[in-house]
Symmetry: C3
């Protein structure tokens, strides 16, 4: 780390969008205080107030983030008694800063849990502010800059029990009558719908499965697990093992979400297809078995 900083990278996520100046002003405040600090934007297009979506982005990204500070602001309760916190993980390897509303919890869990936590209640480390609605600028940005410079967690806040932090609300899949009942965690730009299910959970259902979608457009489709979008087959629906190791409902070069009317949070049931079902309902996807690809096939 250059320049004698304690942390040299801030990874910044919010629901601020980029049409207003919010993100740029936070960058500017941080740079005004600690010019050597680099701020990377993870995304700022979390839907307004969607704490759950923000927490899932952090959890998916956690293992790929630079060590340093994570600043996350999706904060519908800004200015109220929800607590602004800093959470240390890995004995100080990184610090997550944001509101204590469940946003940080899944990422904290992904990297081994919190070692210390404080409530950011020291106004001498905040900017004087004309209003109480922009904590990113007035409270979180100066605290992040101070932590990067080497202030200890206990310099910027009052210790709290990490176990008392707001827990995450990540839905778990479950087995029911031999089926797997899943939920759509995330629909990405390409229309792939990530489920809260890994490939190992559906192995016992056989090579082909039936997907029962329970959103606004109830329908069923047969699908096979596939390694790439191209393997799904034109016009077919597949369960692609995505870049986080979870199954995503996907189509080749088309948006599965649009074609099937899927939304985040929708339930999806994964069912076995009986051997005696007519062939017509079976998938014509060229299925690919997981785990049997030889290493030399790596692109």
């Amino acid at each position: 780390v250059p320049s004698g900083l304690r942390y040299d990278t801030v990874t910044f996520l919010s629901d601020y969008g980029t049409a207003d100046e919010f993100v740029g002003v936070v960058h500017s405040v941080i740079r005004s205080i600690t010019p050597e600090l680099t701020v990377l934007d993870l995304t700022h297009e979390i839907s307004p107030h969607d704490v759950r979506a923000g927490s899932l982005v952090l959890a998916r990204s956690a293992q790929y983030l630079c060590p340093g500070i994570v600043l996350a602001v999706v904060d519908p309760g800004v200015g109220t008694d929800r607590r602004p916190v800093a959470v240390e993980v890995g004995e100080g390897a990184s610090v997550l800063v944001g509101p204590d509303n469940g946003l940080l919890a899944p990422a904290v869990g992904m990297v081994g849990g919190a070692t210390r936590a404080v409530v950011l209640d020291r106004p001498e480390h905040h900017l004087p502010s004309p209003g109480d609605t922009f904590a990113g600028r007035d409270l979180f940005a100066p605290v992040v800059a101070a932590l990067a410079q080497g202030l200890d967690l206990h310099d910027v806040g009052t210790p709290i029990d990490p176990a008392a932090l707001q827990p995450a609300m990540v839905p778990l899949s479950r087995e029911e009558d031999g089926n797997v009942v899943a939920q759509i965690l995330w629909i990405d730009r390409f229309g792939n719908a990530q489920l809260n299910v890994g490939p190992e959970e559906v192995e016992q259902l056989g090579e082909r499965v039936r997907l029962r979608f329970g959103g606004t457009m109830p329908t069923t489709r047969s699908a096979a697990v596939a390694r790439t979008f191209a393997d799904v087959g034109s016009g077919q629906v597949g369960l692609v093992v995505d870049s986080y190791g979870l199954l995503a409902v996907a189509m080749d070069r088309r948006s599965a979400a649009t074609e099937l009317g899927l939304s985040e949070d929708d339930p999806v049931t994964i069912e076995p297809i009986a051997d005696d079902e007519p062939e017509a309902t079976r998938s014509v996807t060229s299925s690919v078995s997981i785990g049997t690809r030889p290493p030399e096939a790596q692109p």
Copy 2:
């Protein structure tokens, strides 16, 4: 400032959007000439040609920006006789660079006025260009890079009287028949509608006021001044003191702009509510008095 630069930070605002390569190319041209210079993006999603919206973003941000160069390009008259200018403020603490069309004026005013100004009429400091439509790349970027390296304003342009710069057109609120006639300056991502009115201007109207909206969907609502969005009360309309110290028409976790059909520039009249009006028209908002919050309530 490292590397012997005169200025080490450029804050960049435009109406270029981010779908095209305009912003990236300006970054690249600046870095090609002056690699040590850091460029922060304020926003590039000003509506095409909306000089007024761009000028308001700059004015709101001015006091939070890193000292250095501000590059602002919202330039419907690109290539015509509107003048490209550089405006020095604070005896050289910062320089604002952009077209002389009113875009820079409110920010210049916010930081104490111009100390010097030049028209950027020295083609030897510009890129040779195949057309006259991309002044950000061909004229402003290389001038910004040259100023950062230490060239004086007078090296890159011909002095003009700062008083002759295009003035801003910021609408002022006014009193009329005991009411305050305001205008919507800005609607942010969350649907809050900032007015050109501070809390002190409505104090004499009483704790509750009537808002009369004059846009495409004329309607009235009662409202109270509130400190946070949560204080507005579910389903109610409030006047929240926003992060710039102005009143914003807001709702808790909902878009006031969508619910009330508000647009930027719409007039809003703030009226007292008579004591003998039936209670039903009174606000049920839990009102919070401004200025009486003890310091220890700071979140």
Copy 3:
């Protein structure tokens, strides 16, 4: 170049969008490996899978980009047998990294052609990955970081013949019956429709021409070549010499694409207007001759 890096700048283009965390994670992986490397975003809003649009952005930008590494990912065939490649240009002045699907070819051509190329088939330089769908994070980012640190092309891949790279598919204009048959290459944020035609190609058609649009809304308009948008004249259609030296169908402060129903790829025929045509069909645009503007008119 500081810090002993072989390359200190990466220019990054993709179809990842900015709503998901894809772009931020690629930044983070690169910074985790090579912290001194600066990553500039060119744009990430290429339409999903639109290789042609991405290749045109790179070609337009090529001459303005910082020397260094270009990372370009528009990759509908991710994980299949399309080859991930690194292409050296200018005897090592820059390296372009991305899928071999035609995306890189026009930019490579613009800067003088490839001097060497490799297929990125050395998994020891990639991240271990739970799936095969995010090559930007797992394959391209670590390779870019390694090349910046000084690894040779041959360290990260197996040499291939640069002549065997997937060629570009850039449509050429043609003459037909005395007309110029063009195509819309690009519609920018302001609604200007860039044609694959330079001003010299229409000179022999006379000062005024007829544009015949062949998209979803067939129509004709007369137009003159203009130097600036303002020169087009209010409500008129012009052929503005754009910032890349090509003709763009444009209107002053309005979106020509919206007004005329234009889309990328649409054909446009440019026809001479006969001298004996009634004046009514002639352009009333204040025409400006190309090449006759004195140098002192430079803004």
